[in-house]
Point group: C2
Chain length 341, copies 2
Amino acid sequence: MASKPLQKLTESLLQGNRRALSRLLSYVENEREGVDDVLAALFPHTGKAWIIGITGAPGTGKSSLVNTLAKAYRAHGTTVGIIAVDPTSPFSGGAILGDRIRMRDLSGDAGVFIRSMATRGSLGGLARATRDAIRVLDAAGFDLVLVETVGAGQSEVDIVRTAHTTVLVEAPGLGDDVQAIKAGILEIADILVVNKADRPGVKKTVAALKAMLELGHPASLGQLVAHHGRLLPVEDKANGRNAETPMWIPPIVQTIALETTGIDDLMTVIEAHRNHLVDAKIFAQIERQQIEIELHDRLRETLMRRFLQDIDDAILADVIAQIQARRLAPQTAIEQLLRHM
Amino acid sequence: MASKPLQKLTESLLQGNRRALSRLLSYVENEREGVDDVLAALFPHTGKAWIIGITGAPGTGKSSLVNTLAKAYRAHGTTVGIIAVDPTSPFSGGAILGDRIRMRDLSGDAGVFIRSMATRGSLGGLARATRDAIRVLDAAGFDLVLVETVGAGQSEVDIVRTAHTTVLVEAPGLGDDVQAIKAGILEIADILVVNKADRPGVKKTVAALKAMLELGHPASLGQLVAHHGRLLPVEDKANGRNAETPMWIPPIVQTIALETTGIDDLMTVIEAHRNHLVDAKIFAQIERQQIEIELHDRLRETLMRRFLQDIDDAILADVIAQIQARRLAPQTAIEQLLRHM
């Protein structure tokens, strides 16, 4: 059970208190003791928000797009929670992105809430904290949660994977390569946005994305496999290839976020993707897979934590010294250590 | 114990047989049964090679640099093993990089060996396979092992972290951003190379890297902490900040790989870095930390594998269904599952 103050905070959050929301998110980020109990108490109130992951390389205008999109949703009466994931340099300790000006633009409206999350220690920890923060915003009653990440790496792919709809943002003139390809992010994108579409080179960028899509989404394979290829366990792939599963070919939307051009189109395709997942009954399947991945992550961490608590530090140090002296192989060491359990 | 055929293969490898080397590397890549026993048998023969990680974004000419460097080392009589880590698209199943022409350039020389490693399934698996492949080349007697990766993400940072000297390759004209910054790779670079130094914009790239270094390596902090900030556990940081620890400021080397310009300079600074680590007795400390990280990785995976073997699949499926129905929180589910153990 959560402590009394945490219980009160939980109740305040469920009643829509913004200060309680802000404090709980800090607790999540700092992994404060007892926060797991709060998250467990909030969990039955989750599952209502639609989670949109928005990712792209620096310079694509991703943050402006998120802001403009949030304002457009607000104009329709939809409430929006925003989580901006800031990869923090281990040098500075500060956020690289840290664009706080944007907050001003949206503040004073209780229907929108922005929160930056920074890396503390491990990127794996960031993925977990982001997942928990999404749950808090979901329980707090936001209709949409936008999760903004810099598209650069496996951990961010993990974060994006907690989303229902994933939007990949590109922009013309950022170099010859479509940067996201290498990071494996194009594969998990549901919607492709070419932002800054008034810039020279927009046709080239759109053409490059189209070529990648044609390469990556051959109609013969079935889109679900291609699209959620890494989410689906191997044994489930046969289902994904089922001819009856409707296809979703990621549409390409051109936007100029600063002029709100193309934002309506983007909202339309986001809605279409949501309907697609729900109508085709893919949504429940994806949710089940996301839960399975989460359980595995949590089990792995919990098992390891318990092991490290139980093992004598001196034994571990001795094993490391023996490995370093090449008297013991790491493979053999694991067997020895687990016999101590 | 390894099976008879695997034992023979191990002996052949230690005697310098190239075909045995090639086959063992395939076994490592495919996680063939019994390969852990082979790796354990080889382990006492490792620890002699110097491991150089070479990383950079696509378009930096990283592969050409690796080839030119390997040839230069060969001219000095140094034997070189090369592992080119190919991030494979889950779409195509084939290597994106797949530049096989390079092999021709170096083949016919028993003192050099090139091997490409591709992603199969998880990137975590690739990091493990790369670590094992390095060990095989080390045991096979190569003086140097060059590990080439595309600098794009956490998993590649993990791969680079198994190196003793890490070289980050940049090139002019690849866009405004120094791409590696976001991926956290600049922080772990020991040597910065600006390749294609005959291209316009080289001064700008060098200046950008210098600025990043000044930001990232303030003399007051002590270089070891900044440099191996993520490797050092928190409680060890005090040692790293010790005023007596000599500093290593990553030098910036300009090269034109295709014309072998700057390659001698690069070899000189690699040698200087190696001497620095050994003379300052930092090497043993780094090696100990690398072993600790490896042990933790292996423990985490082994504990998880054992758990999944022991647990009834029906119980796991039921827990997932309950979570999806929001009748059970993931945090509570973990406690319940671990009580089954």
